[in-house]
């Protein structure tokens, strides 16, 4: 007779001393782990609920400006620095880790219209309503020195925005025309006009660094190549775009913030229709900034909210608002992809988390692993109705809530009417226009 009976040595399964960690022998046999899917689903549901519980995005409010914040700029080399300009011509430099203002200077008379930090991070440019471009040193002036700009260029007209080239000493301003400036010269090396009298913003492409785009007041977006004498092409939309932002990862894509409450992502090679229409705001969109990963962007709106959109999604994944935040004029996504900064009418700059439920600070290895696992579970079960409902739920201000409802009703009515018109007219005479086609008037080359 040969016999063997299961006989375990407890020493193999119990820790030796109480200072050891407990032994956990594993066996991954699926038959020992029944209800795999249901348990994962339950975990995903719990993770989704916890995400909503821990969603506390608001971090800090930076106050100190004496008028509405009109523009902001990220520092190109330092994560903790932020520059902001207000409507009374004051410019402040903030230390974000300490959440305090480190420097204040009276940059312009009237509005500060634009700030941009040079790629090296040692100086920055400002434009203002007083028709000047000023270059400032990033360092504070020493004791006894006066706060003075390095350079001042007197322009002929008012400047409304500026942007700096990624690698060269060249910057662009916009106002009545788009000008390209060499840092060494006091007159523009190139000026672009295309039959319009005013531009609201100009942006360099961060990848194809010689390209730039601007939003004009005749509802058009104009594309330029810095090396050419004439603009490349423009697209005219039904409403005016306020600003635009290039996708830092996809060279040809840019998104513009429009007055008609929507944002439009375009491929610059095909401007006939936008790639995507991003809807959700209930008032004009004033500013937009892409995340450094190029996967998402944040938009600021006149409806007193900021929203985060995935670059390939038509609706926002997140909406931030507070009771006190008024019309948000400018917004920035920090270079470490973790924070969002918003400047608003009521003189404050607010610091938000980009991922509302993320835990800040040092995260242990196991915690990180658990977070990653939960993230994956949420992704896996995201389309299940219960999980979807919880993940999508947001509290909205009353006005926004009702207005979005109203907009939905209006859109529905318009659609219904169009359908009825189509029904009662000759077949084919009222073509079906998709949402993407509706907003482009023409493309001019």
């Amino acid at each position: 007779m040969k016999v063997k009976v299961l006989s375990r040595n407890p020493d193999d399964y119990v820790r030796e001393t109480k200072y050891d960690i407990q032994r956990v022998p594993r066996n991954y046999d699926p038959s020992l782990h029944p209800f795999e899917v249901s348990r994962e689903y339950t975990r995903a549901l719990n993770a989704t609920k916890l995400e909503r519980v821990f969603a506390k995005p608001f971090l800090a409010s930076l106050d100190g400006h004496r008028d509405g914040v009109n523009c902001m700029a990220k520092h190109s080399t330092s994560l903790s620095s932020l520059l902001s300009g207000s409507c009374d011509g004051e410019l402040k430099i903030w230390n974000l880790t300490k959440r305090e203002c480190v420097r204040t200077l009276q940059a312009h008379e009237g509005f500060v219209r634009g700030i941009v930090v040079r790629f090296c991070g040692t100086s920055f440019f400002t434009v203002g309503d007083d028709k000047t471009i000023k270059q400032w040193k990033m360092q504070c002036p020493g004791y006894g020195e006066e706060e003075e700009p390095l350079n001042t260029i007197l322009g002929k007209t008012v400047f409304t925005g500026l942007d700096h080239h990624r690698t060269e000493g060249v910057f662009a301003t916009c106002g009545q025309q788009v000008d390209i400036w060499d840092e060494q010269r006091s007159s523009p090396i190139r000026s672009f006009t295309w039959g319009v009298d005013s531009f609201s913003s100009v942006r360099f492409n961060p990848v194809e660094t010689d390209l730039l785009a601007s939003c004009a007041s005749d509802r058009s977006i104009v594309l330029y190549d810095m090396r050419e004498a004439t603009p490349l092409k423009k697209v005219v939309m039904t409403m005016r775009s306020n600003t635009l932002s290039w996708n830092p990862m996809e060279a040809y894509h840019f998104t513009c913030a429009n007055e008609d409450y929507n944002l439009y992502t375009y491929d610059m090679r095909n401007l006939e229709q936008p790639l995507l229409v991003h809807m959700d705001h209930v008032s004009a969109v004033l500013d937009i900034d892409f995340s450094p990963t190029g996967k998402e962007f944040v938009s600021a709106s006149f409806d007193k909210t900021i929203r985060i959109f995935p670059k390939d999604g038509g609706h926002s994944r997140e909406v931030y608002h507070t009771k006190r935040m008024q019309h948000v004029i400018c917004v920035k996504w920090s270079a470490d992809n973790k924070y969002i900064l918003s400047g608003s009418d009521e003189m404050n700059i607010r610091l938000w988390k980009a991922n509302a439920s993320e835990k800040l600070g040092v995260v242990g290895h196991r915690e990180k692993a658990a977070t990653n696992y939960n993230q994956k579970l949420k992704e896996k079960f995201q389309h299940h109705p219960q999980i979807k409902r919880i993940a999508r739920h947001r509290h909205l201000p009353k006005t926004v809530y009702h207005q979005s409802k109203e907009i939905r009703v209006m859109r529905e009515a318009r659609r219904r009417k169009e359908k009825n018109v189509r029904k009662h007219s000759k077949p084919g005479s009222v073509p079906v226009a998709t949402e993407r086609e509706k907003h482009v008037v023409t493309v001019v080359k």
């Binding site: 007779m1 009976v5 299961l6 022998p25 699926p30 029944p34």
Partner: protein, 597 residues
């Protein structure tokens, strides 16, 4: 001296001083390239190694062979790897970790993003399955076994012999408790297999750590006891007493008396759902959520006294056996039975379902023992037991124990091969009342009229437990942590279905559903046939009679077309049928063909 001898295999060959004597060849190693052996090796490998790796391995070895034939080997650093590439994983082991119904149907639309996503997730899942399969090698324990000598039946080997042959700690697992006063006994092992709960018919309850023989509590409830069951951990258990259902803690303190549950005869605990399912003499099946203390569902099964019950550990469906020979399947979400199976000619005496939820074993008053495949609800095997089995229990590794009177028989592989004799047999001291395999141990607990017997059944228990699921060696702290985790991921009773993986499958909208959605968004049915509206004609030809006539004409035409189509279809099928028939006839004639029409 022998140290150099040991190392000589690896060092460069030293020229031997002896010339005349031929140098002894080093012993052949299994990694040395032997063309004959190579072939065999490859052949065996072909059977069970993944095809992708197999190819690369083969190619590499061929290259090696080529080098060897030239007479010069290229050494980059030491000897080359005799086993290049990752270690092969046997196919059957990968199969073990494959999830059922995993093949994703192809998407019809060219959705590149989705395609890429699916490919990625598939790669990840195969990788994790391979890793798990590879980890299988590292499992520390092997299952037990019992083999007789030549001509010796394993069923003739007595428990005393086995207990003598095995080590001391295992032999201590064979013991008898003589409790003749309050018997017969029902019993239950906790999920980790450490703790034993005994309930005597005449009111005696005892719970103990049966391996250390430490008594945790012993009480007498002064009432008859129908069944006992551990709840999720060893700190609480439920007792079905004469009238009500009671819950005690491990110190014997009565925690709850649940008056909603009366005359309970049998209980089952669903550990992942925290549900206690009870079957009562008044033919009620009730579910109690023990985490919140709420009755989840109560159904009147209208089938009389319910004293045969078991759960399917794979999908948490409750199986009830009835006196009319049927077995019914229940979930807490449906008032009617999910399935009714006629299993026996007489009443059903006992039911048991295996761990993977594939097989159900039933025994009935007709003295038959039947095995069913409960995925398809088809009978697989039927055995005749002269005395009939009163209790059945299946172990983790698929051994079946059946109690016939006072004899406990253990069978092996009842669903695969026709079994003629039992694997083991043991005579208990009284008629058997309760039977339960201990999880993760080679032990079968038998409750009978004269107390309790713990039998050794080699090969019954799963040798390797998972420490995060049910750890027999867990400390109090670990148990507390496990309890919190388990409560957090308690599965809701709504998720109990026949197929527990249904939740993870893609819900493909049917054509009808998609069409309905389309109609809703478009506002009209694009596939609908336009209704005929007769045109208005002048000169009095649009009188109501004429209009009706025209309508009728159109309708008639439509109908003609329909009929034409259906006739055509009919003709075609008939033709095909004839053709088939002709081919059959011409193919092979049989004597019975002449009776064909």
């Amino acid at each position: 001296m022998y140290t150099t001898n040991m190392a000589s295999e690896r060092e460069a060959p030293v020229p031997s001083p002896h010339v005349g004597k031929k140098k002894k060849k080093p012993a052949a190693r299994y990694w040395d390239e032997d063309p004959k052996g190579e072939k065999n090796d490859n052949k065996t490998e072909n059977n069970d190694v993944e095809s992708g790796k197999k190819l690369s391995n083969k190619r590499k070895r061929e290259a090696d062979l080529h080098h060897a034939s030239k007479g010069k080997k290229i050494f980059l650093s030491g000897k080359d790897d005799p086993f290049p590439g990752p270690a092969p994983i046997p196919k059957n082991r990968i199969e073990k970790f494959k999830r059922k119904g995993e093949t994703m149907p192809k998407t019809r639309k060219k959705n590149h993003k989705l395609k890429r996503l699916m490919a990625q997730s598939k790669d990840l899942s195969t990788m994790s399955q391979n890793q798990a399969a590879r980890f299988d090698l590292l499992l520390p324990e092997d299952e037990g076994f019992l083999e007789g000598d030549e001509g010796e039946d394993t069923c003739t080997i007595s428990q005393e012999d086995i207990a003598e042959a095995v080590d001391i700690s295992s032999s201590a697992k064979y013991f008898n408790l003589k409790l003749s006063q309050f018997g017969p006994y029902r019993l239950d092992y906790s999920r980790t297999g450490r703790h034993l709960l005994l309930g005597g018919k005449r009111g005696h309850i005892a719970c103990m750590d049966w391996q250390s023989k430490q008594l945790m509590c012993e009480i007498n409830v002064l009432e008859s006891i129908n069944d006992v069951k551990w709840l999720h951990s060893e700190s609480m258990y439920a007792v079905a007493q004469k009238k009500w259902l009671y819950i005690y803690d491990s110190n014997g303190i009565e925690l709850h008396c649940i008056r909603k549950f009366n005359d309970v005869l049998r209980m089952q605990f669903l550990p992942y759902h925290f549900l206690l399912a009870t079957a009562s003499a008044t033919s009620f099946l009730q579910y109690l959520d023990v985490s919140v203390g709420k009755e989840v569902a109560a159904f009147c099964t209208k089938t009389g006294r319910l004293d045969v019950m078991c759960q399917n550990p794979h999908n948490a469906i409750i199986h009830l056996g009835h006196p009319n020979g049927t077995v019914t399947l229940w979930s807490p979400n449906q008032k009617e039975a999910l399935v009714k199976m006629l299993c026996h000619q007489g009443g059903v005496r006992s039911v048991s379902v295996d761990k993977t939820g594939t097989y159900m074993v039933t025994s009935g008053m007709d003295k038959k023992l039947k095995v069913f495949d409960i995925r398809t609800f088809k009978p697989l095997k039927s055995y005749f037991l002269p005395a009939g089995a009163s209790c059945l229990s299946l172990s983790q590794r698929g051994l079946l124990s059946a109690a016939t009177g006072d004899v406990v028989q253990v069978y092996r592989d009842v669903w695969r091969t026709p079994v003629t004799k039992p694997y083991m047999a043991h005579r208990a001291r009284g008629s058997v009342w309760g039977l339960h395999f201990c999880p993760f141990e080679d032990v079968l607990g038998v409750g009978h009229g004269d107390g309790f017997t713990s039998m050794l059944v080699p090969g019954a228990g799963e040798p390797n437990f998972d420490g995060l699921d049910a750890n027999p060696y867990r400390s109090a702290k670990q148990r507390q942590e496990w309890e919190v985790k388990a409560l957090l991921e308690k599965i809701q009773p709504e998720l109990i279905t026949l197929n527990p993986n249904k939740l993870g499958e893609v819900d493909r909208a049917t054509f009808a559903q998609r069409h309905k959605d389309r109609v809703e968004t478009l506002g009209f049915d694009p596939l609908a046939k336009e209704k005929f509206v007769p045109r208005f004609k002048k000169k009095g030809r649009s009188s109501s009679g004429a209009v009706e006539k025209r309508k009728k004409q159109v309708a008639h035409e439509d109908q003609r077309e329909l009929i034409k189509e259906s006739v055509e279809v009919k003709m075609r099928t008939e033709k095909e049928h004839k053709k088939n028939k002709a081919s059959v006839v011409s193919g092979h004639k049989s004597a019975l063909d002449r009776f064909r029409k």
